[in-house]
């Protein structure tokens, strides 16, 4: 409960042991590696991107979800066809809140769920013919500029060659048709799907149109999915600063924007986990450097804007960015000052995604809240410990199954965006390219870092820390709330948002204020349980007679007083 005294915070080592002790030996051995006590100066090694243990109630989804659902799904103006039985296509239909404002004359196909609804015969005799027919039918109905095909589990097993079907359709129809082998069983989580999606988008869309946008400072935002309108806010802020966003991968984005995104001069990476592959490949092939940014949290947003301005190095831009930051910070001040005293000192825990559990810590810190524990659902070690551990990560069999594209510099289109002198000057000033320090360096010492948290661990964590708020996803939401603790979904934002940049930060502060201070949590216990002693039957006692004029309306009749909720406690 939000107002339960919780001093002192329990020893994280004890919490960890409580989590582990219920496990069978083999399970314990594996989970031990995935639950660590943080050291921000020298992050300890954490087990991550390893197989989910069968039978553990996990947050994780599959490769198809990561590919079709996350990275490619938000491209609004192409037709997406899921090849397989009906379910996978159905569940990825509008359930992720990738908002889109289609450009004039463009169709938003995200409202359509298209799939081949494979039946038993097609599983036995093969589904290639049906897929080819489905592509033709989609083309005849919609005349889209491109069609994208996604494989579900049975496709790989029965050996349908979706890439050949796509190639033939491309020749036949004269539009771009491409396929993703993103069967759900590949990899260990959604993460493999992100990688497969990055590869496919890079191979099949990026670089098809060499026409640059007209702005002077052109960037791409990578790993931003426009949940609840975050990308709208980011684009608007960049516009205020005079920065052009060529493409946001993948949120509120058209096929054409992605086709020309290699003409931008800087890639800004939000979600490192889901899109770093694209940033790396674009740098190798086209010479676009990438930097890590974070538009969640006011301070982080300011820092990210400054970093972009510093990269371009133009005084006019730097000054304009400073003016925008000053204005936005001023506008935000009143909200922070109002909300912070009501939230300060409260505890939070975040278990979500591959970057959100890190990014959202900034917003909580701006409210003076303490992060007792955090972890990702599908991240890799570099997202926890920082990219400097990359050379030491062992590539296991599950990751080896995911294709690594062999990318080379494009002989015509590779162009270094900055001269060696410029780069040297930037780096001398502390500017870092291609770097992500990870979550752990920014978390408290001995905070509990938990990869792929299980239901049992979450249960223990809440029982022992009694945090004021937990952030996770839809599957965990009502479990946490049944424990009397509010849960903020950081995948769907509980259908609220936007929370990005300064304007979004104000929304988030108010939302957290509402969640940790709402009266509802104090009403769980009925009054008769608070005072369970049996009452005596009232006895009529005659009162001295008063004249009618003396009695005020308030004292007339029997008054029933409600129990004041402010003072109520629930356990």
């Amino acid at each position: 409960m939000s107002d339960t005294p919780r001093n002192p915070v329990p020893d994280p080592a004890v919490v960890r042991e409580e989590m582990l002790k219920a496990y069978p030996a083999k399970t314990r051995k594996k989970r031990e590696k995935q639950i660590v006590l943080n050291d921000p100066d020298a992050p300890p090694q954490i087990g991550a991107n390893t197989r989910t243990i069968p039978g553990i109630i996990t947050q994780r989804g599959c490769t198809y979800a990561g590919c079709r659902g996350v990275v490619i799904g938000p491209i609004y103006d192409i037709v997406h066809i899921t090849h397989g039985p009906v379910g996978c296509g159905y569940y990825s239909w509008l359930t992720r809140r990738n908002l889109a404002r289609p450009e004039e004359g463009q169709t938003n196909f995200m409202q359509y769920c298209m799939n081949t609804d494979m039946q038993e015969d097609e599983i036995i005799f093969g589904g290639e013919k049906k897929l080819a027919a489905a592509i033709r039918e989609a083309y005849a109905l919609f005349k889209p500029k491109a069609i994208s095909i996604y494989a579900t589990c049975p496709i790989g097993l029965i050996g349908d060659d979706i890439h050949t079907v796509a190639r033939q359709a491309k020749e036949e129809l004269g539009i771009n048709v491409f396929a993703f082998s993103c069967e759900g069983y590949k990899g260990v989580s959604q993460s493999a799907g992100h990688h497969i999606a990055n590869n496919g988008v890079f191979k099949n869309i990026v670089g098809l149109d060499d026409t640059p946008d007209s702005g002077e400072y052109r960037i791409n935002i990578l790993g931003e999915y426009n949940i609840g309108g975050d990308a709208f806010e980011i684009e608007e802020l960049l516009r205020k600063c005079g920065i052009t966003c060529t493409a946001t991968l993948s949120g509120n984005v058209s096929y054409d924007q992605i086709a020309r995104c290699h003409t931008a001069d800087l890639n800004c990476v939000m979600c490192h986990r889901s899109i770093n592959y694209m940033a790396e490949m674009m740098e190798t092939k086209y010479g676009i450097p990438w930097i890590k940014v974070n538009f969640i949290g006011a301070e982080s947003t300011a820092k990210s804007l400054r970093k972009i301005a510093a990269y371009f190095g133009d005084k006019a831009l730097i000054d304009r960015v400073e003016r925008v930051i000053a204005q936005e910070m001023l506008a935000l001040k009143a909200t922070v000052e109002e909300v912070r005293p009501r939230c300060e000192g409260k505890l939070a825990a975040l278990f979500v995604g591959g970057s959100r559990a890190h990014h959202y810590q900034d917003l909580f810190k701006e409210l003076g809240m303490q992060i007792v524990s955090a972890g990702y659902e599908f991240a890799h070690r570099d997202d926890y410990e920082g990219r400097d551990v990359l050379p030491t990560i062992k590539v296991d069999a599950d990751s080896r199954n995911i294709e690594e594209l062999d990318v080379e510099a494009d002989p015509q289109r590779f162009k270094a965006r900055r001269s060696p002198e410029q780069l040297e000057a930037l780096q001398a000033g502390g500017f870092t390219f291609s770097d992500y320090e990870g979550m752990m360096r920014e978390m408290d010492r001995r905070a509990l870092v938990i990869d792929d948290i299980s239901h049992h661990e979450m249960d223990q964590l809440i029982a022992l820390y009694r945090p004021s708020i937990v952030c996770c996803g839809i599957k965990e939401k009502y479990i946490v709330e049944k424990m009397g603790v509010p849960c903020k979904q950081l995948h769907s934002y509980d259908y609220g948002g936007p929370y990005a940049v300064f304007t979004g930060a104000a929304n988030f502060y108010r939302e957290i204020d509402r969640m940790v201070n709402t009266r509802v949590w104090s009403m769980i216990m009925p009054p008769w349980q608070k005072q369970p002693e049996l009452g005596a039957r009232p006895v009529f006692t005659p009162k001295p007679r008063r004249s009618r004029e003396e009695a005020s309306p308030a004292t007339r009749g029997r008054a029933v007083r409600p129990v004041p909720t402010e003072t109520a406690t629930t356990n």
Binding site: A22, T27, G55, I57, G84, V86, L94, Y185, K482
Partner: protein, 458 residues
């Protein structure tokens, strides 16, 4: 909104657009939650389980607990035995359910995993805790729909758990079909008021509509117990509600335990509820209490009071066959005109059944099983209706058609709350449906009519 949809309808043979059904395993998972202390288990990739839990959670706004075998590429090649064994070990070690109800997925079906063999091995290796039960249903996603998945898991309950001791008990089996917890609760209330003794399975009331008490219960108090399901083999008869979702279990009880069965429609609307009440009364040899007759009378009263707003209104309906059939019956009872009737679940019997209900007056109606919402929307564009009834996905069509009056009904409902607590079955449920339909139609009138026709009283 749905700007690429045109009125010109062409036949499609391969491409499904905006389905009116989903896959078997989600129905199996939901049914399994209707057993007390049962943990549903998805034998396949973890994505299936994640998708099903997410979608069910969005519908119920409640914890939906289930585990998965978390297949990787290796398991897909070598078979899922090792994943299943490890999963069961963890499940019994950590979560201690009374029952694990396994359903298969496309993946484990395609590779041909033999679930009973896996159970046998687990049991023979001495790993199954004393008294714990393992049950399973085959639910490949390339057959049937979520409704048949529900039916298969419900039949598995009877197949694995029901037993015939030789002594016939004075109790009736109720198989409630793919209903929300509030509806299951209402079915039980009606049967109880009539005075029938019964066991009902699955029963998700008190599992997926639990109160907020500041405490999470992994296994809430609801659900049919193993003992109850076992005793179903000794019941004197079974009443199954909804042919698609419940007949398989009723048949199973008949063939395994020689319990005779009757099937009826889900008690949605007047006629179907009358049939349900009459069946219970007859089977339990009780008379219908005054309370229920009063509810029925109130429904008739409401039907006559609101008749002017509903009479001859053209309606498009989509949903699951067991829901849509009695709903169409009810719409006809209300003198409304179902113009398009669609289910995504395959089965010609659906079309025949609905055609029969519509009679000659409804000969122009389009009635299709194994159809999708894209076709439905195209028909509606060609010849509009006054009202759309279906699950949440219908809201896109409603908005595309100029904020057409739209009543949410069926599964899933992802954006409103009433279904969680207010039943649509029984006489009172029928009253709620009338309220929802007239609200939608009158709200439209209030929104759109010229000011001089904007009226206080309706």
């Amino acid at each position: 909104m749905l700007n690429a949809t045109t009125a010109e309808h062409t036949e499609r043979k391969a491409l499904r657009i905006n389905p009116a059904k989903t896959c078997q395993p989600i129905g199996a998972l939901y049914a399994a939650l209707g057993i007390h202390k049962c943990l549903p288990h998805s034998h396949g990739s973890q994505g299936c389980c994640a998708y099903h839990r997410s979608q069910l959670t969005r519908h119920f706004k409640e914890p939906v607990m289930a585990t998965t075998s978390s297949f990787t590429e290796g398991a897909s090649v070598f078979g899922g035995l090792s994943n299943m064994t490890q999963a069961l070990t963890n499940i019994f070690g950590i979560y201690q359910p009374d029952v694990v109800a396994v359903h298969t997925t496309c993946l484990s079906e395609v590779i041909g995993d033999d679930i009973p063999m896996m159970f046998k091995k687990f049991r023979e290796d001495g790993k199954l805790p004393e008294g714990a039960q393992l049950i399973h249903a085959n639910t490949p996603s390339f057959k049937g729909s979520h409704v048949t998945g529900f039916a298969n898991m419900t039949a598995a309950m009877a197949r694995y758990l029901s037993e015939r001791s030789g002594e016939v008990r004075d109790q009736l089996n109720l198989i409630p079909g793919y209903l929300d917890p509030a509806d299951m609760r209402e079915v039980k209330r009606l049967a109880t008021e009539i005075g029938a003794r019964f066991v009902m399975f699955p029963d998700t009331s008190d599992v997926l509509d639990t109160p907020q008490v500041g405490r999470f219960e992994m296994y809430p108090k609801g659900g049919a117990t193993v003992a109850q399901i076992r005793s179903a083999g000794d019941s004197f008869a079974t009443l199954g509600l909804g042919f698609w979702a419940s007949e398989a279990a009723a048949k199973e009880l008949e063939s395994k335990c020689e319990v005779p069965y009757e099937m009826g429609e889900l008690p949605i609307g007047l006629g179907a509820t009358d049939a349900f009440v009459d069946a219970i009364r007859r089977l339990a040899a009780k008379s219908v209490p005054a309370n229920i007759e009063r509810e029925r009378g109130q429904l008739i009263d409401l039907m006559s009071d609101m008749s002017q707003y509903l009479h001859r209104k053209r309606v498009a309906v989509f949903g699951d066959p067991d829901h849509v059939i009695p709903l169409v019956r009810f719409l006809v009872e209300l003198d409304m005109r179902p113009a398009y009737v669609v289910t995504g679940t395959p089965g010609k019997a659906f079309e025949e059944n609905v055609r029969q209900l519509l009679g000659p007056a409804g000969a122009d109606a389009k009635v299709k099983a194994y159809e999708d919402l894209f076709s439905l929307h195209q028909w509606m564009k060609a010849e509009p209706v006054d009202l759309l009834i279906g699950n949440t996905y219908g809201k896109y069509i409603a908005r595309a058609e100029g904020n057409l009056p739209f009543v949410r009904f069926g599964f899933p409902i992802l954006d409103r709350v009433a279904h969680r607590y207010f039943p649509t079955v029984g006489y009172r449920g029928a009253m709620r449906l009338i309220a929802a339909m007239t609200d939608a139609l009158l709200d439209q009138k209030d929104r759109e009519c010229p000011e001089e026709f904007f009226e206080l009283v309706q």
